[in-house]
C-alpha cells in the first residue's frame, strides 16, 4: 500500500485539517441509533466512517491499534447499554477491555480522548448525533494523530 496517498494530508494543503474518525458500531443498538439519527435528520460532522460489527464485544484491542496505525485520528466504539446487549453480555466484555487498552494507549503516548467508548441504543438517534459532535470536537482539539503512523510520504 506504499503508493497510496493519504487523504488526510491531501486535504491539508487546500482546506483546514479535518480529522477522520473510525466508529465501530454494534449492529443491534448503535448502528440502528445512527440510522435513526439519519431518519430524524439530526445533523452531525461528516468526519466519522462507520464500520458495522455484530457486537461491541467483537471489537478487539488489535482492531483499535490497527486503525490508529492506518491513520485514524480518533476511534469511537459504541455498543448497547449495559444489560441491553443483543448478545447477552458482549458489551460488558467490551467495557472491561476498554480501560485496559486506554492505559496501554496512554503508556505509548496516545492522548486520552482519541479513543472513546459509548452506549447508544436503537432509539437514541439524537444522542448518537451529540456523541459524534463531542467526539469530533475532542479529536479536532487534539490535532492529527501521528504517533502510530509510519510517515511514508516524508520518507519517500
Amino acid at each position: 500500500m506504499t503508493s497510496e496517498t493519504n487523504m488526510t494530508s491531501e486535504t491539508n494543503e487546500t482546506a483546514p485539517w479535518e480529522p477522520k474518525i473510525i466508529a465501530f458500531l454494534c449492529t443491534w443498538c448503535s448502528y440502528a441509533g445512527a440510522d435513526l439519527a439519519g431518519v430524524s435528520r439530526f445533523q452531525y460532522p461528516p468526519n466519522i466512517r462507520i464500520v458495522k460489527v455484530p457486537c461491541s464485544g467483537r471489537v478487539s484491542e488489535n482492531m483499535i491499534l490497527s486503525a490508529l496505525k492506518s491513520g485514524a485520528d480518533g476511534i469511537l466504539v459504541s455498543g448497547c447499554h449495559p444489560g441491553d446487549c443483543h448478545f447477552i453480555s458482549g458489551n460488558m466484555f467490551a467495557r472491561r477491555r476498554f480501560p485496559l487498552l486506554s492505559n496501554l494507549l496512554e503508556f505509548v503516548g496516545i492522548e486520552p480522548g482519541r479513543v472513546s467508548f459509548s452506549w447508544v441504543s436503537a432509539s437514541e438517534g439524537e444522542q448518537f448525533a451529540e456523541i459524534v459532535k463531542t467526539v469530533t470536537e475532542r479529536v479536532k482539539a487534539l490535532g492529527p494523530a501521528t504517533r502510530l503512523i509510519k510517515k511514508i510520504d516524508q520518507a519517500a
Binding site: 440510522d35 435528520r41 457486537c55 467483537r58 492506518s70 491513520g71 441491553d84 458482549g90
Partner: protein, 1008 residues
C-alpha cells in the same frame, strides 16, 4: 376439506401485507388489484410520519417480494365480481380488464409511452402533469409492465388511426385485441383491503380549490414534494413554478364537518400528515420558510406523534387554532389571503404563497358497490362494518377486512389489521396449509472458489434522498476505477423491481462474484439484495452495503462536498470488505411448534387463542391469579358494548382450550435459545420449549401525583376514569344524584416527563361524561381539555357530548386548572379562552383522565430476557414503527397491546392477532434460517487457554479432548466476542474476521 388458498382484494399496503403474511404461512394467495399496479396510496407518499422514512423506500421491498413471490398470483386491472359459497369453500369470479400489453412480452423499455401521441392527466400524480395513454403508473410499479388506457387510446377508440406503440414496441407486446377475462377461483377465505378515497374539496367554495391554482390538496402536495412527482422533488407552486416560502395547511377539510361535507368522523391521519409535510417542506426550502397549520384540535395520538408535534413547534411550524372562513386571491401574482377567526372571535387576515387542504379520508364509491355485491353491512359513514371485538371480521363469515376501508386509519394500524386479517383468514384453513403452494427453487450457486474477485457496485439516488446531497455519479465513477470492480452504475431506486431484475442480469452477464450496494441501511434492505444475489446464482453472503443515506446524505444535508467525499470513502470501504468475503452455508434450526404468550390480558388471551385454534400448543403465563388484566376494569368500549362480559367469555375460552396451558402467579426466570428454539424457565422451576414468543405484558394507569394530583386520594369525590368505570360496572345508583361533574384531560400525559398522548383517554372521558348524562340528563358536566382527540369515528361521541350540553373548556400547561376544597366541597378554577375569563365550578365529582404508562417492573425486565428494545418512555420498541408494528428486531419475538403503546381494546385485539399471525409464519415452517456468520477456530494457532469458552454467552465454544477450542456452529450466534477475546488470534468470525474489518478500516484512509 377447505381450500388452501385465500383471495385478497386490494393491493395497497394493507392488501400487500395480508398477502405476504398468508403466502409466507403456507397459503396460495390471489391478490386482486383494481389498477395496473399494486402499491396503493402509500406508493404516492413522499415521506411517512413519524420517522420521515422515504415511503417508496420502505414500501418497495414489500412490493418486490409480492411481485416475485411463488405463492402470490397477482391479478392487476381486476375486480371481484361475484362470491358464492361459504367459509372454507368460496367460489370467486375475478374480471380482469384488458391491459392491451402482453405482460409476458413487455420488457418495460418505455418506448410505447415515449411515442404515444396522446397526453392525459397523470392520475398517479393526482392529475398534476401529463402521462401518455400508454403508461406505467410509477417508476417502481409492480408488476413492471406498461398498460394502455382504453379511455384515451386513439386506436382503441378508432381502430386504424394511430398504433404508434405497436409499431415501435421491440418486443411485439402491444395487443389491441386483448379481451376482458373472467378468472374463477376457489378459495378458502377472503380478505378485503379496498382502501379509501380522499374528499374532493371542489364542493367547498370557500377554499377556492379548482379556481385558485395555488390551493392544492394534501395528496397533490405530497406529489409535489416527491422525487418521483411532477417537479422531481423541487417544491414549486402550480401557478408560476416559484418556490413557496409561506404555506398554510387547513385541517379537517371534509372531516369533522356535518354541514358542508357531510363527513362527521375525524380522518385520524391528517394532523400528522400536515405536520410531516410542514417539516419536510422546511427541509426542501432553500431560504426562509414559514409553515402555518390552521387546526381545530391537533390529533397526534399515535406512537412517537406527540414528540414529532413538539419538535415541529421547536423547528418553527406555526399553529393557529382556528377555522378558516375563506381563501381569496391576495394579488394577481398567485398569492393567497386567508381569512380566519381566532379563538377570541377576532377576524384576521394572513397572506400565503400556497395553501394545502388536508382533505379527509372517505370510502371509495366502488368499495360501497363491492360491499353491496358481497352483502356486507356498512356503518353510518359507509365504511365496512366490523365486529366490536373482532375488528377485522365483516358481517359475512369468512370475509375479513383490513385497512382504511373499515375506518380511517394510519399505515401501522392498517398493517396490524392486515396481519390480523391474515390470522383470521388462515385460522380455519390451518389443516390445509401448504396444500396449494409451490416451493421456491434457487438456481445452482456459482462456485467462486479460486476465482479472482469481480465486484459490481450499484449506487442509489434513492429518488433525491441521496442525490440531492451526494454526487452519486461521481461516487459511481470513482467506484468503477477501484481494483477488482468490474461494473458500476447508478440507479434511481435500487430496490425497485426493474432494478432488481436488471441486477440479476448484470450479475450473470458480468460474471460478478461480489456485490456492493451503496444506498440506505442494511438493516432494512440487506435481505432484499441478498435474495437477489441468490436469484442470480450467487451466495448471498458475498454482499456488502455502503450506507450513504441514513448515515451520510441525511445527516450532512448542508455539506454536499464532504458528504460526497464520505460516500466515496464508504464505498471504498465496502468494496475492501466484500473483497475478502467468501460463500457461507445456509444454516437452519428446526422449529419447536409451540408458542409462549406472556401476559393474560385481552391481548395475551387473544394471541394465545389464535395460536391454539391453529393447533399449536401454547403456554400463557400471567403474573396475577386472574386472566383479564386491564380489560376487567373498563366499563364499555367506544361503540357502547360492555367489556366485562367479553373478557369473562374470553377467559373461559382460554382456560378450557385443550391446547392452552395457563400458569398463574408466574414469572420468567430465564430464557435460553433463539428463534425456532427457545427454552424458558418459570418462577415455579418448570421450563417450556417454544419456537416463538408474544409479549403482551400490558400497561398500567398513572397514579396522579404532584401538580397532577388534584386532591386525588385525599378527597373522596376525585376519581380516575377507571375508578368511575368501577362505579358504572357496579351500577352505583348514587351517580344519578350528582349535579355537577368536571373532567380534567391529559393528567400525566403530554408533559415533559411523559411526552406522549395516551390515545384513549379523550374518548374514554367523553364517553363517561355521556354515560353520566344518560344517568342524569340534568347534570352539568365540564370537560377541561388540551386537544380533544376522539380520532376516527369516535368523533361522533364528541358531537353527541356537545349535543347533550356538555361544556368543553380548553386549557394549556401555562394555565393549568386549579383544584381546591372547602369543607370537603371541591372547587375547580379554570380559564376559559373563548370568553377570556376565569371560571369557578363547584362540582360534586372530579374525574381525572390519567395517562397509561408501561409497567415499570415487568416490561423492562422481560424485555431483557428476550433482548427486545424499549423506547425512552419504557414502551417496547417494535422493529419498524411503520411497517413492522408487531415484530421485534429480535427474531421470533412479537408484541401486542398496551406494552407497545396506549390503545383501545379493539386495537389491542387486532395487534394481538397480528402478532400471532406473524409468529405463525415461523411455526408454519419446519426449519428457520439460523446464523451463517459463525465463529471458527484455527487449531494450529489455538493454545487451549479457554478464554473463548469463558466469554461465550451461548455455551457454543468448548475445549475438546485435545484441549483445543471447538465451536458448536448450531449454538453460535456470531457475536464475535470469542474472536476479540482470543489472545493468539486463533478464532475468527466468518466474513467478519480481522481480515475483512481491517481491510475496510485501511480503505478509509487509502485512496486506492
Amino acid at each position: 376439506m377447505p381450500k388452501g388458498s385465500v383471495l385478497v382484494v386490494g393491493g395497497g399496503i394493507a392488501g400487500v401485507q395480508a398477502a405476504l403474511d398468508l403466502a409466507n404461512s403456507g397459503f396460495l394467495v390471489h391478490l386482486v388489484e383494481r389498477t395496473a399496479a399494486i402499491g396503493g396510496k402509500m406508493s404516492q407518499l413522499d415521506k411517512t410520519f413519524p420517522t420521515n422514512d422515504c415511503s417508496a423506500c420502505i414500501l418497495s421491498p414489500k412490493l418486490v417480494e409480492c411481485g416475485r413471490h411463488m405463492n402470490i398470483n397477482l391479478l392487476s386491472l381486476s375486480d371481484l365480481v361475484s362470491l358464492d359459497g361459504e367459509p372454507g369453500n368460496f367460489r370467486a369470479v375475478i374480471r380482469q380488464r384488458p391491459r392491451y400489453v402482453d405482460p409476458n412480452k413487455c420488457i418495460a423499455c418505455g418506448l410505447c409511452a415515449e411515442k404515444c401521441p396522446k397526453k392525459v392527466a397523470n392520475d398517479y400524480n393526482m392529475g398534476i402533469g401529463k402521462r401518455k395513454a400508454a403508461y406505467l403508473s410509477y417508476p417502481q410499479a409492480v408488476p413492471l409492465k406498461y398498460a394502455i388506457d382504453p379511455a384515451h387510446c386513439i386506436w382503441i377508440k378508432k381502430p386504424g388511426r394511430c398504433g404508434m406503440c405497436a409499431k415501435i414496441c421491440p418486443a411485439g407486446a402491444i395487443s389491441f385485441d386483448d379481451q376482458e377475462k373472467d378468472h374463477v377461483l376457489e378459495v378458502g377465505s377472503v380478505v378485503l383491503a379496498p382502501g379509501f378515497s380522499r374528499f374532493n374539496p371542489s364542493s367547498l367554495d370557500f377554499t377556492g380549490y379548482g379556481r385558485l391554482p395555488n390551493v392544492v390538496t394534501s395528496m397533490e402536495f405530497e406529489r409535489l414534494l416527491s422525487p418521483s412527482g411532477p417537479c422531481m422533488g423541487h417544491l414549486e407552486r402550480p401557478s408560476d413554478g416559484k418556490e413557496p416560502q409561506r404555506i398554510a395547511w387547513l385541517q379537517c377539510v371534509g372531516s369533522r364537518d356535518i354541514h358542508r361535507a357531510g363527513n362527521p368522523y375525524c380522518s385520524s391521519v391528517c394532523c400528522m400528515f400536515a405536520l410531516k409535510q410542514a417539516v419536510i417542506s422546511m427541509e426542501h426550502a432553500h431560504g426562509e420558510f414559514e409553515p402555518s397549520i390552521f387546526y381545530m384540535d391537533m390529533r397526534t395520538h399515535g406512537k412517537g406523534f406527540e414528540n414529532y408535534y413538539n419538535r415541529a413547534k421547536e423547528q418553527g411550524v406555526r399553529f393557529h387554532r382556528a377555522r378558516v372562513h375563506s381563501i381569496i386571491p391576495a394579488d394577481d401574482q398567485g398569492n393567497l389571503k386567508v381569512r380566519y377567526v381566532d379563538q377570541q372571535g377576532k377576524v384576521n387576515f394572513e397572506e400565503f404563497d400556497m395553501v394545502v387542504l388536508s382533505t379527509g379520508l372517505q370510502p371509495y364509491r366502488h368499495m360501497i358497490e363491492l360491499a353491496a355485491m358481497l352483502k356486507l353491512e356498512l356503518d353510518a359513514d359507509n365504511f365496512i362494518k366490523t365486529d366490536s371485538f373482532n375488528p377485522v371480521a365483516s358481517s359475512r363469515p369468512g370475509v375479513y377486512v383490513c385497512g382504511a376501508a373499515s375506518e380511517p386509519k394510519d399505515i401501522p394500524q392498517s398493517v396490524m389489521e392486515a396481519s390480523a386479517a391474515a390470522a383470521e383468514a388462515g385460522r380455519i384453513l390451518a389443516p390445509v396449509r401448504w396444500s396449494e403452494t409451490s416451493k421456491k427453487q434457487y438456481p445452482m450457486e456459482m462456485d467462486i472458489h479460486a476465482q479472482p474477485p469481480r465486484i459490481g457496485v450499484f449506487v442509489c439516488h434513492c429518488g433525491i434522498n441521496i442525490s440531492s446531497v451526494v454526487d452519486v455519479a461521481a461516487v459511481s465513477a470513482y467506484a468503477g476505477n477501484l481494483p477488482d470492480v468490474v461494473f458500476s452504475q447508478t440507479n434511481l431506486f435500487t430496490c425497485s423491481q426493474d432494478t432488481i431484475n436488471q441486477m440479476i442480469n448484470i450479475i450473470k452477464a458480468e460474471k460478478l462474484n461480489r456485490v456492493v450496494v451503496a444506498s440506505c441501511s442494511p438493516r432494512t434492505h440487506e435481505p432484499l439484495f441478498q435474495e437477489t444475489l441468490r436469484d442470480a446464482g450467487l451466495n448471498q453472503f458475498l454482499f456488502e452495503m455502503a450506507n450513504i443515506r441514513d448515515q451520510d446524505s441525511w445527516v450532512h444535508q448542508h455539506e454536499p462536498a464532504k458528504a460526497t467525499a464520505k460516500a466515496i470513502d464508504l464505498v471504498r470501504m465496502a468494496v475492501a470488505r466484500v473483497r475478502g468475503e467468501g460463500a457461507l452455508p445456509y444454516n437452519t434450526v428446526p422449529v419447536t411448534k409451540s408458542a409462549l404468550v406472556i401476559g393474560g390480558g385481552v391481548s395475551g388471551m387473544t394471541a394465545a387463542l389464535t395460536f391454539a385454534d391453529q393447533g399449536y400448543p401454547v403456554t400463557l403465563i400471567e403474573q396475577s391469579d386472574m386472566l383479564g388484566g386491564n380489560g376487567r376494569k373498563v366499563f364499555r368500549n367506544w361503540k357502547g358494548d360492555a367489556i366485562l362480559p367479553y373478557v369473562t367469555d374470553l377467559s373461559a375460552k382460554v382456560t378450557s382450550h385443550p391446547q392452552i396451558n395457563v400458569k398463574f402467579n408466574c414469572e420468567i426466570k430465564d430464557v435460553a435459545g433463539s428463534v425456532g428454539k427457545f427454552s424458558t424457565t418459570f418462577s415455579d422451576g418448570q421450563s417450556f420449549e417454544h419456537g416463538v414468543a408474544v409479549m403482551a405484558v400490558g400497561g398500567e394507569p398513572y397514579k396522579p401525583e404532584g401538580k397532577w394530583q388534584f386532591l386525588h386520594g385525599s378527597n373522596a369525590n376525585v376519581h380516575t376514569l377507571l375508578e368511575l368505570d368501577k362505579r358504572f360496572i357496579d351500577q352505583d345508583a348514587s351517580l344519578k344524584k350528582i349535579k355537577q361533574a368536571v373532567f380534567i384531560h391529559c393528567v400525566g400525559s403530554r408533559i415533559p416527563e411523559r411526552p406522549y398522548c395516551s390515545r384513549v383517554c379523550c374518548t374514554h372521558a367523553v364517553d363517561s361524561a355521556i354515560k353520566l348524562k344518560e344517568l342524569n340528563p340534568d347534570m352539568d358536566i365540564f370537560m377541561l381539555y388540551r386537544d380533544i382527540r376522539t380520532y376516527g369515528q369516535r368523533e361522533r361521541l364528541y358531537q353527541e357530548a356537545r349535543g347533550k350540553g356538555i361544556i368543553f373548556i380548553n386549557y394549556d400547561l401555562d394555565r393549568m386548572p386549579q383544584v381546591e376544597e372547602e369543607n370537603g366541597q371541591l372547587i375547580v378554577k379554570a380559564h376559559d379562552p373563548i370568553i377570556d375569563a376565569h371560571v369557578t365550578i363547584h362540582p360534586d365529582m372530579l374525574v381525572l383522565a390519567t395517562a397509561i404508562q408501561p409497567r415499570q417492573q415487568s416490561g423492562k425486565n422481560l424485555a431483557k430476557f428476550f433482548k427486545c428494545a424499549i423506547d425512552a418512555q419504557g414502551f417496547l420498541l417494535e422493529a419498524h414503527m411503520k411497517l413492522r408494528p408487531v415484530d421485534f428486531a429480535t427474531e421470533g419475538v412479537f408484541l401486542a397491546g398496551l406494552c407497545h403503546y396506549p390503545k383501545s381494546i379493539e386495537e389491542s385485539i387486532a395487534q394481538a392477532k397480528a402478532a400471532a399471525a406473524r409468529a405463525s409464519i415461523i411455526l408454519a415452517h419446519d426449519v428457520v434460517p439460523a446464523e451463517s456468520i459463525t465463529a471458527e477456530v484455527n487449531r494450529a494457532k489455538c493454545t487451549g487457554c479457554g478464554l473463548c469458552v469463558e466469554v461465550c454467552a451461548y455455551n457454543a465454544v468448548s475445549l475438546d479432548e485435545n484441549g483445543l477450542s471447538v465451536v458448536n456452529t448450531s449454538m453460535c450466534k456470531g457475536c464475535g466476542n470469542c474472536v476479540a477475546g482470543c489472545r493468539s488470534d486463533a478464532v475468527t468470525l466468518k466474513n467478519v474476521g480481522n481480515e475483512q474489518i481491517m481491510a475496510a478500516v485501511d480503505a478509509a484512509f487509502c485512496d486506492e
